[in-house]
Subunit: 206 residues, 2 copies
């Protein structure tokens, strides 16, 4: 849909706009200006207009943007138009918490299964979800056409597990392990590194 390649940072902001739009929609607002929407998303109006311009002429001059139409456009761009299945690898503390954290569903993602090298270990917590052995991964991913994986395994095995994921056909990984994953072209990795975020904050406090 986008004419040109959209900058990575801009794609990130699309999600912020999408969030803000959802709130507006809930309040039955029909039209919104770049000024108002950008404020809700925490960015500058011109930046928002530039970002949206990647998708063509979406707004009406003198009026603003149609909330429902813009929502639709962003949903399709972000691929949240339909529910995306996600697998989670590593059912430790963090992994279990993410499974139980229902915040994803509202945004169009569903964790459909958890995997662990030792499925027994995780069984003590009621996850409401099967914890399967790693051997079951390949068939599961293929059958359910899963493209997204959340990786919450120890750093020492992260690269190894990542290789497996790629082999199974996973196309995108949300990585919580403090490691730089090596993946082939065509596979995308986003890193969430909590220790680094804390260190970063630590730098800015005097």
């Amino acid at each position: 849909m986008p004419k040109l390649e959209i900058p990575r940072k801009a794609v990130y902001r699309l999600s912020l706009y999408y969030r803000a739009l959802q709130r507006l929609k809930a309040n039955a607002v029909e039209t919104v200006s770049s000024a108002a929407l950008s404020k809700a998303a925490g960015v500058k109006p011109t930046q928002l207009r530039k970002d949206l311009a990647y998708f063509g002429q979406l707004g009406t001059r003198g009026l603003g943007y149609s909330v429902s139409h813009l929502t639709q456009t962003l949903m399709e761009a972000l691929g949240t138009a339909r529910l995306q299945p996600v697998v989670l690898i590593g059912a430790g503390h963090l992994g279990s918490a993410l499974v139980r954290y229902r915040g994803f569903e509202k945004e169009g993602f569903e964790i459909v299964a958890a995997f662990d090298a030792d499925p027994e270990r995780a069984q003590d917590v009621a996850l409401g979800l099967p914890v399967l052995p790693m051997e079951a991964l390949r068939d599961f991913v293929r059958e359910r056409q899963v493209k997204l994986a959340i990786l919450t395994v120890p750093a020492t095995v992260a690269q190894e597990v990542s290789n497996e994921l790629v082999q199974c056909g996973i196309q995108a990984i949300l990585n919580f392990a403090p490691t730089i994953l090596q993946v082939p072209d065509g596979v995308v990795v986003n890193n969430v590194d909590l220790a680094i975020e804390l260190e970063n904050l630590s730098y800015f406090i005097r």
Copy 2:
């Protein structure tokens, strides 16, 4: 210590270098070149040298950088030279998991207490840590001189709790709630938004 203001993105990379250095130190390596260290951190050699140059002449031409000296410099810059106390607000699924996640301590951070509007609710999980009522926050923060907070409360109350944190003297917040927090100058916020990370990945898979 830094001569000039260091770009935010560069500060982030300092943590990557620090990680890589720790591994080298464990292997009793004494000196490392920008080429080798940058590869371990997943960046380009020139970038690493530029980043380190903010701290003055750290390396030896023709040789490289002293692992121990560089480690020391980065520890001081990042403020991880001594153990930093951190409070966590919101003892739900995610909050509890972070408390039990011991990955921070190695990096110089210790969650010293958890707070929740309803401390009873959280008590069923053994956190190895007291869960205190919000009323106890101010005195605790003041007494222990806590500057860092992790915020894992529902989005609906995040801004409100954030205001309280700021009033108590917290200087930096690691925010997991999907909200743009408004904070006064001098307070830093880093956002970790899992739904947005997933959406971002979702955009890049065809």
